[in-house]
């Protein structure tokens, strides 16, 4: 069926009986309304006028202008042959001239079109005339007092009897309200898409709460009522995921996380604190029963990860809190203290082989209780050499060379390597972190002495170290000649570490920069710092937090943030480093963007520092996925 047939058949559709019934009903209403003393009157049609629209003598331009005026539009007509341009009173108003403006002209019209839109406007007029195609265009009109309005121009060609173009007529309507409403709707849409609904308190692999998030939840829960913290160490039987066997570490962690989410009850929270370490916040009483139930459920389950079945062994450490933020000993408890207690309980459980260890907070809170046991652990780690360093490469995205390494701390605890987040947090709370930092710096200086001259090392500094004059003095002594070139040593400081510490930070940074050291602002974007820090503190490097980097290929918010940060760095003369770079596509995008360095699995995994001292095979050290070291778990210290 073609169009003609379609329309012909449609026109021939007979009036149905239903239609006839509707007509009868409507006519009944007409009779009631019209043919009695009641009348009806609507002013609308009076505006329309009663002239026959088909009258043959009316000029086309006049008709269109009149119709436009009826619905509040202005009109202008242009006759190129006569060189004349005329417009209606309404058009005067739209252009911001007083009504009855006596000298409409092309110049007067263009004068009110926004300068940036003038050319497009007149091109549209000419195009309408030459091509006989209508133009529908929205432009800006600049009225007196710089008021900008958006005006829609609907341009048509006027023809004579023979169809020859003789001019252009345009109707104009102020559509500013509509345009502003559309822009606002677009802006709101964009903002809704770019607001993060989850705070930066989640682990990127499992999406459970991370250390920071869990800390906040425990703190919140302690103000509400009694509860407990359960730390869990969950290990796969039959081999370490990611190292022995076919299951990857990420798959293992995710499948455990999913199961723990299902075990979670209303009011509880679950967190991932590190490799194989999870935590439960259990609200209310009956914590011990809940904890035992969780452990039993985990151990009785066959997990399926990466297509392979896995069973796990679980140990837990449980510590209860009473909701008053005060221990029975009467001293205020910090969240960190609770977590230390839970960790002690976990440690005892593993040592004794029982599934769950519990600690009485009162005992731990007593002088010498908790603190003493941890102090002993940290001290023994230092003295017995159970702290070790791994190095993760950073590749320059300008020349592709690896000339920098970040040193990452590990505590060897039995057969395990403990991540720095927990260890450093506890060391900080015990006031021992300066000793840890100094040990790391000493090791870094020793290492630099054996590495090629072009290699630089980056080490992390904790918040407390920034205000420690003794540590500062010790570092200065270490870097005295004939020691290594201080410019090969970069200190990483987090935004959060500088809060309330700006003066000390400035002093610390100035003294060491005077020796040639560089400073990097770590985890930029996810802390609580301010951009003013970049103006007031002489950072050389800015490390873009991995939280923005790792999903930037799929997340336009992250991409926009990274682009803005890189642009800012370029303006400030700061080098940029991107963390969590895990694939080649991301590496390429970052390079194109102008990021200076990249760090992550796409560049290289952390390796024991001793391997840096081994002469490299061609291609070694900067490749992807080289795999012996344990998975680096990027958590802020």
């Amino acid at each position: 069926m073609n169009v003609d047939e379609l329309l012909r058949r449609t026109a021939a559709i007979p009036v149905t009986r239903f239609d006839e019934a509707v007509i009868r009903r409507n006519l009944s209403r007409v009779r009631t309304l019209m043919w009695t003393d009641q009348g009806s009157s609507s002013a609308a049609e009076d505006e329309l006028g009663l002239d026959d629209p088909l009258r043959p003598d009316e000029d086309e331009a006049d008709r269109i202008a009149r119709a436009g005026q009826l619905i509040g539009m202005g009109t202008f007509t242009w006759s190129p042959a006569a060189g004349k341009l005329a417009w209606s009173r309404k058009m005067s108003e739209i252009l911001g001239y007083h009504q009855g403006f006596a000298h409409p002209s092309r110049a007067a019209l263009l004068d009110r079109i926004h300068a940036a839109d003038r050319e497009a406007f007149w091109l549209a007029v000419e195009e309408t005339f030459e091509s006989c195609n209508l133009q529908d265009i929205v432009l800006r009109v600049l009225r007196p007092q710089s008021a900008t309005r958006y005006v829609r121009f609907y341009m048509q060609v006027l023809t004579d009897e023979g169809g020859t173009p003789r001019g252009v007529i345009a109707t104009a309507q102020d559509v500013s309200d509509k345009v502003f409403a559309e822009k606002e709707a677009e802006r709101l849409k964009q903002r809704c898409e770019t607001i993060l609904t989850r705070l930066e308190e989640h682990d990127p692999v499992t999406t459970l709460l991370n250390w920071r998030g869990f800390d906040n939840e425990v703190d919140r829960a302690r103000r509400i009522g009694p509860g407990a913290v359960l730390l869990l160490r969950i290990e796969a039987l039959g081999g370490r995921p990611g190292q022995d066997g076919p299951v990857s570490w990420e798959d293992f962690m995710r499948v455990i996380a999913d199961f723990l989410r299902r075990l979670k009850q209303v009011g509880d929270e679950v967190a991932c604190l590190g490799e194989n370490e999870f935590a439960f916040l259990l609200c209310g009483t009956e914590a011990e029963a809940k904890a035992r139930s969780v452990i039993a459920d985990l151990e009785n389950r066959n997990f399926l990860a990466g297509g392979h079945r896995i069973q796990v062994s679980v140990h837990g450490g449980l510590v209860a809190f009473d909701g008053s933020r005060r221990a029975r000993a009467g001293r205020e408890e910090s969240v960190g203290s609770l977590l230390i207690d839970a960790d002690v309980a976990l440690y005892e459980a593993r040592r004794s082989g029982s599934p769950l260890g519990m600690v009485d907070p009162a005992v731990q809170a007593a002088p010498g209780g908790r603190q003493e046991s941890w102090r002993a652990r940290v001290r023994s780690a230092l003295e017995e050499g159970r702290m070790t360093l791994f190095a993760q490469p950073l590749r320059s995205l300008h020349d592709g060379q690896v000339t920098r390494y970040e040193l990452l701390l590990r505590l060897v605890d039995g057969e395990d390597l403990v991540t720095p987040a927990k260890f450093v947090a506890m060391a900080e709370s015990l006031g021992m972190v300066d000793r840890v930092d100094l040990w790391v710096i000493k090791e870094a200086v020793k290492l630099l002495a054996h590495l090629e001259a072009g290699i630089r090392l980056q080490v992390n500094l904790s918040a407390r170290s920034l205000g420690d004059p003794a540590l500062l003095a010790a570092i200065e002594k270490l870097l005295e000649p004939p020691s290594v070139d201080a410019s090969r040593l970069t200190f990483e400081i987090t935004e959060t570490a500088m809060i309330g510490n700006t003066a000390d930070t400035r002093h610390f940074v100035d003294r060491l920069r005077a020796l040639g050291c560089q400073f990097a602002l770590d985890d930029f974007g996810s802390g609580y710092g301010s951009l003013i820090n970049l103006k007031s503190l002489p950072f050389d490097i800015l490390k873009i937090d991995g939280e923005f980097v790792h999903d930037s290929m799929d997340n336009k918010t992250s991409r926009a943030m990274i682009e803005a940060i890189v642009h800012m760095c370029k303006g400030l003369g700061i080098l940029s480093q991107a963390e969590f770079v895990e694939d080649k596509q991301l590496l390429t995008w970052l390079a194109d963007l102008g990021v200076d360095f990249a760090q992550g699995y796409a560049v290289g995994r952390p390796r024991p520092v001793e391997e840096l001292l081994v002469p490299e095979r061609p291609g070694a050290g900067s490749g992807e996925g080289e795999g012996d070291p344990p998975e680096e778990f990027h958590q802020s210290a």
């Binding site: 449609t10 009641q38 049609e45 629209p53 060609v157 023809t159 709707a185």
Partner: protein, 183 residues
């Protein structure tokens, strides 16, 4: 929809002959006017009300309108005028956006196996409003191109462009519907 009837200070009186003319005019044209309205407005309740109100307006002014070359032209122009006013009012109330049930939403799916009337209405709603009106006026309701331009208050040349574009799109849609590709 249409304004509430107000008591006319001057009673409206038509002779019986005029009344009969009005009723015949209404009966003869109601279906076409309603069909025209439904092709422009997705809410058929609104469309039917507009059709009735436009015809009623013609009846109220019958002594003048009956003198027109073709009174239907005035009715259709009035209908379009009322629809424009309604859309403006709804847009203002809806924060600058026309509500979906009135908007020119061309994304409706084609209803398969329905009668011709529904199919044509659906196809017309997929055109730009002026394209649909140009085709309906010229190819359906029998107006000349010049007359159709007058009803639509556009230039003759513009009307020709709309009619041509509308017919081309209808052809394409019919072909797609036959091939089962029309969405």
């Amino acid at each position: 929809m249409s304004p509430e009837p107000t008591r006319n200070p001057e009673p409206f009186r038509l002779s019986p002959q005029m009344q009969a003319e009005c009723e015949a005019f209404y009966a003869d044209n109601f279906v076409d006017v309603r069909r025209y309205a439904r092709c422009l407005c997705r809410d058929w309740h609104i469309a039917d009300d507009l059709a009735h109100d436009a015809l009623l307006a013609a009846i109220e002014r019958w002594p003048r309108v009956r003198e027109h070359e073709r009174p239907l032209a005035w009715v259709l122009k009035t209908l379009r005028f009322k629809l424009t006013r309604l859309e403006d009012s709804l847009t203002r109330r809806n924060g600058g956006e026309l509500p979906d049930d009135v908007a020119d939403d061309r994304s409706a799916g084609l209803m398969a196996d329905v009668d011709l009337h529904l199919m044509v209405t659906d196809l017309m709603q997929r055109l730009q409003p002026r394209e649909a009106q140009a085709v309906m006026l010229c190819d359906w309701l029998g107006f000349t191109e010049r007359q159709a331009a007058a009803v639509l208050d556009i230039a003759l040349n513009t009307l020709k462009g709309y009619k041509h574009a509308g017919r081309q799109k209808l052809e394409a849609m019919l072909k797609a519907a036959e091939e089962g590709n029309l969405r």
